[in-house]
Structure formats: structure tokens, C-alpha cells
Subunit: 324 residues, 2 copies
């Protein structure tokens, strides 16, 4: 695989929730997929997942060559990765397991085949120690679950990852319509999970302290600032929040109150008592609504929003979406 | 005004950005508005704002009685509030100014007229000290700017605010389609601004540390978790993130990593150097795009998202949106 050689065949290692969602995405983009997993009934589970995901993928737009029949499954690792142009690894989050796996892959694969890990909890600097011969082609490409609906891919190299690998990975994910970010330092939680954690900390604090109910803190988010966070990012919104003076004026005006609020933000401990309070408040919010119905509702609006942002008339916003 | 007497006439005190946006919203809902402001050319500025906001309000749905001709303006406070069923106060954020104003309003208005403050930085317990006779009808009803587009209203009482006032205010804002939350304790930034501050703190930290560019942290937010935060709130999303096991399973699975991430979140100081780094990165992200074009893009998608959530077919989600 080189920059000019297109990626046509992906090997998926591990077909749990993340691996299955990647599989559905790649098939929808017209790629060949060979998946492998040692779990019993893994193939049936995977095919069911892809089948269930297909209507949403159809709505977001299938590639001309997209077909569920491009999915093959093999329980044997060597067979699954044979001829792959890129490996998407979604194995268990245990460093000993991954290092051993990367050792096997390193021997099985031509040096120009990228091994991309979906790991959220381990660093590539540690994982790639297993790939003695060609650690430079190993990179983290962390999706935001589920990748067949949410386009974000966070790309992070380890100490031995080459710049060329990072660029090639970014080009590949971008070419199939995902939105990549380059994470320059290995950080716990990469970027998106850290943003989620930062927000959740204050949400839990406010509910735990009795300032608001779960229902009300959810309303405050999803009918307030959250409405904009699915449209543009924080920095761009700050730029617009400064009016004609832009980001400079924003900081002149808001760095004072912002800093003052920071001093009062909470840092809750998730004790059993706090968890119980949060859980009880969520159940009050949920009422009799089922998880299935709520999931369907979430995904319906989510798909609509993604459509709005990817298919809207060029005349409205000729420069494309923000943050690209 | 009682619970059964409908609010027909609103007095708007202060026609800056927030007051003007409230004015546009109330007119769109078919209410009579009398606005007052001491600034020169305030009336012309207000009418221009309403005119400019009207197409968006039309798209979101005007009430049958909606008309820009229902706007009156008077530079005289007593004349502006005469006959008002509710006062929306958007004066300067200075406690001495507000206390004096509330003293005047308290004398001018019948005791059953609610005085609702848009204040983001002061507490009602302090403000209502100015309203010696009837402090119980004073309440904070804090919008999320701009209220004619973003439906959130945070309702917070002061020490002397009556429960009846809080209920009546909540009923009123809900009746015109806003989404209210009840904030049980006076907190700096109420709820939504605290959530914004919590997120921004980590965003600034990651850009300041060189982990990601402004463009990339924006991509991580608005093509990642942010896509969901305009759909449902954090607590409900956690419930669904737990799969069939719901919120209980979510905490079993994620309280460990979440707590670990919390320990590594940043706490940047907004020094001039850090601000410069953030500003420079935003300018790289923005490139040659103008603030006007970006605003138009933001508002176009924002309106589309609100339409998705308020006008979608009943068959898709018969129980209405989450967090209601």
C-alpha cells in the first residue's frame, strides 16, 4: 500500500461493538472486509449487526460498490489478514494481548500495510513494542462509537510511528468520509473522551448537589449549548461569540467570568451514594420510555443532523462546514 | 396576572442583544411588547434587530397573532411597564443599578406582575433586596443567547422568591415554546454557562498544550460527542450508553475510566501567552472565512436541527423529545 494505491480490502480483528460498526461502515463505502474473531457465533452476530445498520447507512449514502456480500469471515487470523491493505484492530484492551497480536501481525503483513488500533485506553508507544520489525506502520485510529454513524476518528501515533503512516491513515479515513483529528501527544482518553469527561464531571456534580434534576440538566444541555456543539466546535463558536471583534473580543469579554466559573466547578466522587442519586434521577427522567424507543429517537435525530451538515445545498454555505 | 390570566403584554427593560432577542421572540409568539431603553437610537436598533430576526422566526413558526406592529417603545420606564403582565429585565449587570430599578418597578407594578431578570452574573437574592414590598414576584429567567433561536430558559429564585412565582414563570415560558429548567440553588453561571465553562476549560487546555489545533479540537467536538449533545443530554445519553443495562450498567462500566480521566483534565491559566496561542490557532482554522458567513452557516444548521427536533413526524418518536 502506498499513497497512490487505494485501500480496497480491510481486515477487521475483533468483531465486538466497535469492530462490527467499522465493518458496516467499510462495507457501506464499497470496501472488501475480512473479519476475524475467536468468540463463538461471532460471524452470525457480525452479519446481524451489519444488516441492522444497513438502513441508516443507506440513508447517509452508500458507495456504488457497497454490498453486504463483500464481507468475509475467518476465525483464522492469518487467513483474515491475507491480502489486506489495512488492518483495523479492535481486540481486548490488555497490553499483553495486544503486544502479542502486533507481533503476529508484524510477521504476517507486508511492511507497507498499516495496522490501525481502535484502542481508547492504551498508548501506541506501548502497543507497538510488540511489532519488532515494523512498529512505524502502527497507529491509533480511535473512532467515536458507533463509527458507522459518528464520523470522528482520532489519529495518534506512538513513539515509533512514522509521520508517513499518520498521513496515510488520515488520508484513508478522510477518503471514506470520516472526520479525522491529529492528536499530537498521547493523552488518556485522547481528545473526545476527555471533552466528554470534562462535561460529565460538572453534570454529575450539579445533579449530585441537588442543583438540578437529571431531566433538567439534560434540558439545559440539549436545548442550550449542546444545540450548537453539533454544529460547530467550541473555538469557532467562541470566535462568533465575540461578535464583529471575533475571538480576540471574546477573550476580552469572557475570560474574566469564565475564569471565575472555573473556580467554582465541581469535582464529585462517584461514591455508591452519588451513583444512586444520579441513577434515581435518570429513572425519573426516563419514566416508562424503553431504551429501544429512546435509542431510535436519538439515532433518528442524529441521522437528520448529519444529513443537514453533509447534504445541505451548497448555496447556503459554500465554504463547507466549520472545523474542516 | 394569575395562573389562569394569560400573559398578553410584556415590558422589556433594556434592548441590548438579549432584550432585543427576547422582544423578537415575544412578538413571534403573538404577544404585545413595550420596550424601554435609555440609549440613544435604541428604538431604531431594536426594530432593525426584530426585522432581521423575523425570517428565522417565521421558519420556526409564527403564532397566528404574531406581528412586528405589536412592538411599542417608550423611553419612559413608567409608561413602558404600564399594563404589563410580565416584565423581562435586561439591565446592566450592576447590583446597585438593579436594586434601584427593582425598587421603582416594585412601586409601579401590581403585586401579581412577575419581574423576570435575564441576569447571568447576579443572584436574585441580592437583586430582590431592592423590591421592598413584593420581592416574592422577582425571579431570574436566564435565557441562552439568543433566546429567539435557543429555547433554554433557566429559572432560579432568590431567598424571597415564592414558589408560586417560580411555577408561574415556568408555565409562561413553557407556554410560548421555551424549554425551562428549574435551578434549585443560586450558582455562579446557573447551569448552562457552567457546562460551557467545564468543556471550554479542557478545550483550551488541549490547544494550549499543543495536543490538538483549534480546528482539530473543534472537529473532535462537532463531529464527535457534540453531535449527540444537540439531540439528548448527558444523563440520558449515559443511560443509552449502558446498552440494555441502562444507566446502572453505564456506571459499572465507565465510572473507572471516567474517574481516571478526571484526574488528568487540565486547568489552564488564561495568560496573555495562552490567549495568543488560542487566538492564533483559531485564525488558522478560520482562514479567509468571514464572521458573517460563519454566523449564517451556524444559524442555518441550528435552525435545521431545531426543526428536526420540534417538527418531526409523530410516528418517528411518539413520546416527544428526551429531557422534557
Amino acid at each position: 500500500m502506498t499513497d497512490t494505491k487505494p485501500v480496497r480490502r480491510i481486515a477487521i480483528i475483533g468483531t465486538g461493538v466497535i469492530g462490527a460498526s467499522w465493518t458496516a461502515l467499510y462495507l457501506a463505502k464499497g470496501l472488501q472486509v475480512v473479519a476475524t474473531d475467536v468468540a463463538p457465533n461471532a460471524e452470525a452476530g457480525l452479519r446481524n449487526f451489519v444488516e441492522a445498520a444497513w438502513p441508516a447507512l443507506k440513508r447517509l449514502g452508500l458507495s456504488p460498490a457497497a454490498s453486504q456480500s463483500n464481507l468475509k469471515f475467518s476465525a483464522a487470523l492469518a487467513q483474515a489478514v491475507d491480502g489486506a491493505d489495512l488492518v483495523q484492530e479492535n481486540g481486548p484492551e490488555r497490553i499483553d494481548f495486544k503486544q502479542k497480536l502486533y507481533g503476529q501481525l508484524d510477521e504476517l503483513l507486508s511492511p507497507d500495510v498499516i495496522i490501525a488500533s481502535s484502542s481508547s485506553g492504551l498508548t501506541m508507544s506501548e502497543i507497538q513494542k510488540g511489532a519488532a520489525s515494523h512498529p512505524e506502520r502502527c497507529v491509533i485510529a480511535h473512532p467515536f462509537n458507533p463509527p458507522h454513524l459518528i464520523p470522528l476518528v482520532e489519529i495518534v501515533g506512538g513513539a515509533k510511528t512514522s509521520e508517513a503512516t499518520i498521513q496515510r491513515a488520515a488520508n484513508f479515513y478522510t477518503s471514506i468520509g470520516q472526520r479525522t483529528v491529529r492528536v499530537n501527544k498521547e493523552m488518556p482518553g485522547h481528545v473526545a473522551n476527555r471533552l466528554q469527561a470534562a462535561l460529565a464531571r460538572e453534570v454529575y456534580y450539579l445533579v449530585a448537589e441537588g442543583v438540578v434534576s437529571a431531566a433538567d440538566v439534560d434540558t439545559a444541555l440539549c436545548w442550550g449549548p449542546g444545540l450548537r456543539w453539533g454544529v460547530m466546535g467550541n473555538m469557532m463558536l467562541n470566535h462568533l461569540g465575540g461578535g464583529p471583534g471575533g475571538i480576540e473580543h471574546f477573550f476580552q469579554q469572557f475570560s474574566g467570568p469564565m475564569t471565575a466559573w472555573w473556580k467554582t466547578l465541581g469535582s464529585p466522587a462517584l461514591t455508591p451514594e452519588v451513583q444512586k442519586k444520579l441513577i434515581d434521577s435518570v429513572h425519573t427522567e426516563v419514566g416508562s420510555r424503553t431504551i429501544e424507543a429512546l435509542e431510535a429517537e436519538r439515532d433518528e435525530i442524529l441521522l437528520g443532523l448529519i444529513e443537514l451538515r453533509t447534504k445541505r445545498p451548497k448555496a447556503v454555505a459554500p465554504r463547507g462546514v466549520a472545523a474542516e
